[in-house]
C-alpha cells in the first residue's frame, strides 16, 4: 500500500510567471498552484492580467505576436513551455471556454464530437456515448437531446455556452479554463453554468476568470485576486470573503475600486 504513490494534489504549478506584450510587462511574476478537483476563481479589475494569466495555462498567448513569457508553468510536473510539448495535446488536457459562446456552425452533435473526431475516434457507438455523457455533465442534455442534429447556433446563449462546456468535456481534459463564461448570460443561465461546474469538479480541475465577485464567492474553493499584473492575495474563498489579509482585497471586494 505504502509504495503506491497517490498523484500529487497539485495539478498545475506556476512560478514567477512574467509576461511581456512587446516591451510592456503585463504580468510581474505570478506564482500560484492549483489543486486537483478544486474550483479556483481569478478576480480583479479589468486589465489586471487575470485573463492573460489564464491564457498562459494552455498557451493561448502563443497565438499573439510579440508575447514573451518567462517563468515556469508545470502540468503534472511537466513544463508546458518545453520545446518538445505538443500544444494540441496540451490544449486537450487543458481545455478552455470563452466569454462569448462560440459553438461551431454545425449541429450540437458535431460540435461535441469535434474534438473526439480530431483525436481519431470514429466508432459511432463511442461517439454517441461520449456526446451524451458530455452533454449530461454540462447539464444541457435534457434541453438538446431531441435536437442533437439541429445547428448549435439555434439554441439560446446559455444553452450554447453549456454546449461549449460539453465540447470541452468530451475530450476529457484534466483542467477546464473558463474566461468569464457567464458574463454574456442572464442570471438563470449563469446559475446553470455554475451548477454545472460544481457538478463536474469531482472529475476536473476548474479555473475560472470572473468579473462577478458573487459568483466567485458562491461556488469556488479558492480565489485569487490580481491587480496591475500582480497576485495580491490567493486563499480559500471563505477566507478571502470573510477576512482577507490585504486591505486592497477588501477594498476591491467591497467595490471601492475596480
Amino acid at each position: 500500500m505504502a509504495d503506491v504513490k497517490a498523484p500529487s494534489k497539485k495539478i498545475i504549478t506556476s512560478e514567477n510567471v512574467y509576461l511581456y506584450y512587446g516591451k510592456k510587462e503585463a504580468l510581474h511574476g505570478i506564482s500560484m498552484d492549483f489543486n486537483r478537483n478544486e474550483i479556483t476563481a481569478l478576480i480583479g479589475p479589468s486589465g489586471c492580467g487575470k485573463s492573460t494569466y489564464l491564457r498562459c495555462l494552455n498557451r493561448m498567448n502563443d497565438l499573439i505576436p510579440g508575447v514573451t513569457i518567462n517563468g515556469s508553468i508545470r502540468l503534472d510536473k511537466e513544463d508546458i513551455y518545453a520545446p518538445k510539448v505538443d500544444v494540441v495535446k496540451l490544449r486537450k488536457r487543458v481545455g478552455m471556454v470563452f466569454q462569448q459562446p462560440n459553438p461551431f456552425p454545425f449541429s450540437v452533435y458535431d460540435n461535441v464530437a469535434y474534438g473526439l473526431r480530431l483525436a481519431g475516434i470514429k466508432n459511432k457507438q463511442v461517439l454517441d456515448q461520449r456526446v451524451e455523457t458530455s452533454l449530461k455533465q454540462a447539464a444541457v442534455w435534457d434541453e438538446v437531446k431531441d435536437n442533437l442534429y439541429k445547428s448549435a447556433l439555434e439554441f439560446s446563449g446559455g444553452q450554447q455556452q453549456r454546449i461549449c462546456v460539453a465540447r470541452v468535456l468530451a475530450v476529457e481534459p484534466d483542467v477546464v479554463l473558463l474566461d468569464e463564461p457567464t458574463s454574456a448570460l442572464d442570471p438563470i443561465s449563469s446559475a446553470q453554468i455554475e451548477e454545472t461546474l460544481l457538478a463536474i469538479k469531482d472529475k476536473y480541475t476548474v479555473i475560472i476568470v470572473t468579473h462577478n465577485m458573487q459568483q466567485a464567492s458562491r461556488f469556488s474553493d479558492k480565489t485569487a485576486f490580481l491587480l496591475n499584473g500582480n497576485l495580491v492575495e490567493f486563499a480559500k474563498t471563505s477566507k478571502m470573503f470573510m477576512h482577507p489579509d490585504k486591505q486592497e482585497t477588501s477594498d476591491y471586494l467591497n467595490g471601492k475600486f475596480g
Binding site: 446559475a191 455554475e194 451548477e195 460544481l198 458573487q214 464567492s217 458562491r218 461556488f219 474563498t237 471563505s238 470573503f241 470573510m242
Partner: protein, 238 residues
C-alpha cells in the same frame, strides 16, 4: 447554486431545532433539580451548557459564512438573520438555566420552602410550554402562533410578582431562611427573563414571515399592563 444555499439553510434549521430542544431540557433539569433536591442534576445543567454554547458558535460561523459567500437577499436574507438573532436568544436562555441550577445548589445547602418551590415549578412549566410553542411556530414559520405565545409572557410576569411577594412574606416570618429566599428570588428572575427571550424569539419569527420589526413584549407594548400587576400585588402585601 440555489440548491447549495437551500441545503445549507436546512442544516442550519436542523441545528437550531436541536439547540432549542437542548435548551428546553436544560430549563427542565434546572428546575427539576430544585424541586427534587437533586444536586447531581443541577451540576449536569452546568456542564450541558458548554454544548449549547458550542452549538451556537457553530451555527453563527455557518450563518456568517453563508451571508458572506452566498449574499442572500429578500426572504433568504430574513431567514438567515432570523436564525442568527434567534440563536443568540436561545443561547442566553441556556445561560439563565445555568444560573438557576447554580442557585439550586445553594438552596440545597439552606432550608427549602416547599410551597414556593411548587410555584416555581409551575412557572417553569409555563415557560417550557411557551418555549416549545415558539419553537414549533418557528419551524412552521407561523407568525400568528408566535404572537399568541408572546401574549403569554404577561402571565409569567404576573407569576414572577406573585412568587416574589410570597418569598418576601415567607422571609418576613422566617428570616433564618434568607439564603434560600435570596436564591429563589434569583431563580424566578431568571425564569422571567427567559420569558422575555421567548418573546424575542416570537418577534424574530414575525420578522421572518412579514419583514416587520415588532415589539411583542406585552409589558413593553403596554406598560399599563405591568403597572396593574405590580399595584395588584402591592395591595395583597398590605
Amino acid at each position: 447554486m440555489r440548491e447549495l444555499f437551500v441545503d445549507e439553510m436546512k442544516k442550519l434549521h436542523g441545528r437550531f431545532a436541536e439547540m432549542g430542544i437542548n435548551v428546553s431540557e436544560q430549563i427542565y433539569r434546572s428546575t427539576t433539580a430544585l424541586t427534587d433536591h437533586d444536586e447531581a442534576l443541577a451540576k449536569e445543567v452546568t456542564s450541558g451548557d458548554n454544548g449549547t454554547n458550542s452549538e451556537e458558535m457553530e451555527l453563527e460561523k455557518q450563518a456568517l459564512k453563508l451571508i458572506a459567500l452566498q449574499q442572500p437577499v429578500a426572504n433568504d436574507f430574513r431567514d438567515i438573520i432570523t436564525i442568527l438573532k434567534a440563536s443568540s436568544d436561545l443561547e442566553r436562555i441556556g445561560d439563565h438555566a445555568v444560573t438557576i441550577a447554580r442557585e439550586t445548589v445553594r438552596v440545597k445547602n439552606g432550608k427549602q420552602i416547599s410551597p414556593i418551590e411548587k410555584k416555581i415549578s409551575l412557572m417553569s412549566e409555563n415557560i417550557r410550554t411557551m418555549l416549545s410553542s415558539v419553537l414549533d411556530a418557528y419551524s412552521k414559520n407561523d407568525d400568528k402562533a408566535a404572537r399568541q405565545v408572546a401574549k403569554k409572557d404577561i402571565e409569567i410576569d404576573r407569576l414572577y410578582v406573585e412568587i416574589r411577594d410570597d418569598i418576601t412574606k415567607a422571609l418576613a416570618k422566617h428570616p433564618e431562611d434568607a439564603q434560600s429566599g435570596s436564591s429563589y428570588l434569583i431563580i424566578i428572575k431568571m425564569l422571567e427573563r427567559i420569558g422575555d427571550h421567548i418573546v424575542n424569539l416570537a418577534e424574530w419569527i414575525v420578522y421572518n414571515v412579514t419583514g416587520k420589526i415588532v415589539e411583542l413584549n406585552p409589558g413593553k407594548a403596554d406598560p399599563e399592563l405591568l403597572n396593574n400587576i405590580f399595584s395588584d400585588n402591592l395591595n395583597v402585601v398590605k
